[in-house]
Amino acid sequence: MKIADIILPNSLKGSIDLGLERRSYGRFKVILFLIMIAITAIPATTIAFLGYINYKNLLQKDEITQLKWQMDGSIGSIEQMVGSLKSVVQFIARKDRYTELTTGSSLEDLFDRLQRQYPSFADLGVIDEQGVQQAYYGSYDLEGTDYSGESWFSEVMEKGLHISPVYRGYRDVPHFAIAVSTYDPVIRKTWVMRATIEADTLQNFVGTIKTEATDDLFLVVSEGVLQTFSNYFGQPLTQTELEIEPGVRSYMSMAQEEFLIAIGDIAATPWYLVIIKNGYTSNSEWRSFRSELFILYVVCMVISVIVIFALVNMLTSLIRKADEIQIGMMKEAEHKDKLASIGRLASGVAHEINNPLAIINQKTGLVEDILNITPDFDHKHTVLESLKSIDNSVERCKAITHRLLGFARRTEVLYQHIDVNETIREVLKFLEKEMMYSRIELDLQLQDNLPNIYSDRLQIQQVLLNIINNAIDAIGKDGTISIISNLIAGEVRIVIQDDGSGIPEDMLSQIFEPFFTTKETGKGTGLGLSITYGLVKKLGGDITVRSNVGKGTAFTITLPVKVEKQ
């Protein structure tokens, strides 16, 4: 057994088993349904999936571009703001002021003036080349402090500028320092002006550039220590887990929310700007797209399933109907075929047997005739009786051969215009004597002006002869046969009714089947009505029977006035 034999339902196989095995339409239906669903669902799903992915990528790219753009703008602003602070410090540290600032109260005056303009300045200090703070004005007494070992001091001496990270100074307030070095030509020494500024300034800077489009924006140093307040990480100087590396990254939170983190280096400062933005997944546009896509997809699928289901049902029932018609036709053809071969066989046999029968019949007849004119002798009676019995047997054989021969008659249809009533009368002529012998009355109710039908006269005669013969047989002796013809719904209807013995209900359905007979063995071949049925059907008509046991039988033959030539 091949695999295909197992998978395929019988309905998809050849028609060899036709009608023998019930075709599995259920399985066929399921397979068809699944195939069609697959055909519809695969492209739809693929398109939905590609749309989803592409839109997601597009949103992501767009978001990253926007973030970069925002990043660049923000860095620019902060650099500008830091730059202006730096300029202030550079301005007050003009080259030749070292001596002036290290003596008297000029540093205090300077600070006062400065603070009036920039309140966030916390203190000022002047440091000499050796790193010793020569003058200081601020909240502490830091004059004389030696900074020479500090890394920032060497940096400022080398590069001319140092901006410190935010630190918690001695006052426990977050600060950062800007130190600039300058060369004083008067004393021929480089000196350093160091200003401490409250970290709030940075917070203000950040505040001015933070917009609603961002979820978090803060400054941080490369070690990850916060410089300004962060919505996510908290107060300044908190150590974060962030890996500080310029660029845009996406990051999954614990709650499976995607974030985009953009980090940019702010030039000439220790700071990095960090912008955190909720990923596209929290974007309302994205959400609505996703839900619309989902709804659309589900609706499409549901509609497809309904349509396909209906389609498959329709298709299956169509196929089933076609199959039924096919099976019906094959059965009919088979039946015809059977009848035809039986017919050929029967007529052959009948022809061969009929002639010897005729001879036997004549010979016994002759012997009888001679015996009748011969004087009596011993056993003459027995001889005559035997001859009679041979005659009876010949009669039986005759009946059989005649039926069989009738079965094999020409089958082609010869169409001509026929007056049905006249045809009925012609047939009756052949049966008049027999009916007379059997004392059967005839009740003819033929409708005048019946239209001529276009059909085969001899075959209609055959049909009528068969039915009327049956009626005569059914009556036996003494009875009435009624023959009614009329035009009903454009068709000619002939009813042949007898008041004979009738046919039991359980046999009615079989009477048109070949070899079905109720007559005693030897009397009927069981072919008459089968032939009749075949003829009527061939002529495009129909034949039905009604019967009441004890009351009689009525055959109704309907013939079309016009037959479509096949």
Binding site: H351, A358, Q362, K398, T401, H402, L405, Q462
Partner: protein, 127 residues
Amino acid sequence: MTNNTSKKIRVLIADDEFDFASTLQTRLNLRDFEATMVSSGEEAVQAVEQQKPDVLLLDLKMPDLDGLEVLSRLKEMGAETKVIILTGHGSFEVGREGMEMGAFDYIMKPVDLNELIVKIEDAHGSR
């Protein structure tokens, strides 16, 4: 049983089955007919022409001319012989066909002699 009229009805049997035809001839003669027989269509036509029998019993199946051909030939000749067709076909169609071609009646083989005699007498009486 015996016919007392001085003039016997002359019957010609045309059938190629010798046993059948000869027996039928003997039996008809026994019953006071003047029966003769031929065994082919051509012979039948000739015999009708020469003997002008009253009734011709014509078998449909014969080697040279078949019954229907003989019928049409007789019709052409304008023979007055009445024809009763003997047919082995179990069909009344052939009989009908023959009757349409001018046969008086038909009878199916095997033949019941009494029935045949009735038909012969009918045919003769219709002349």
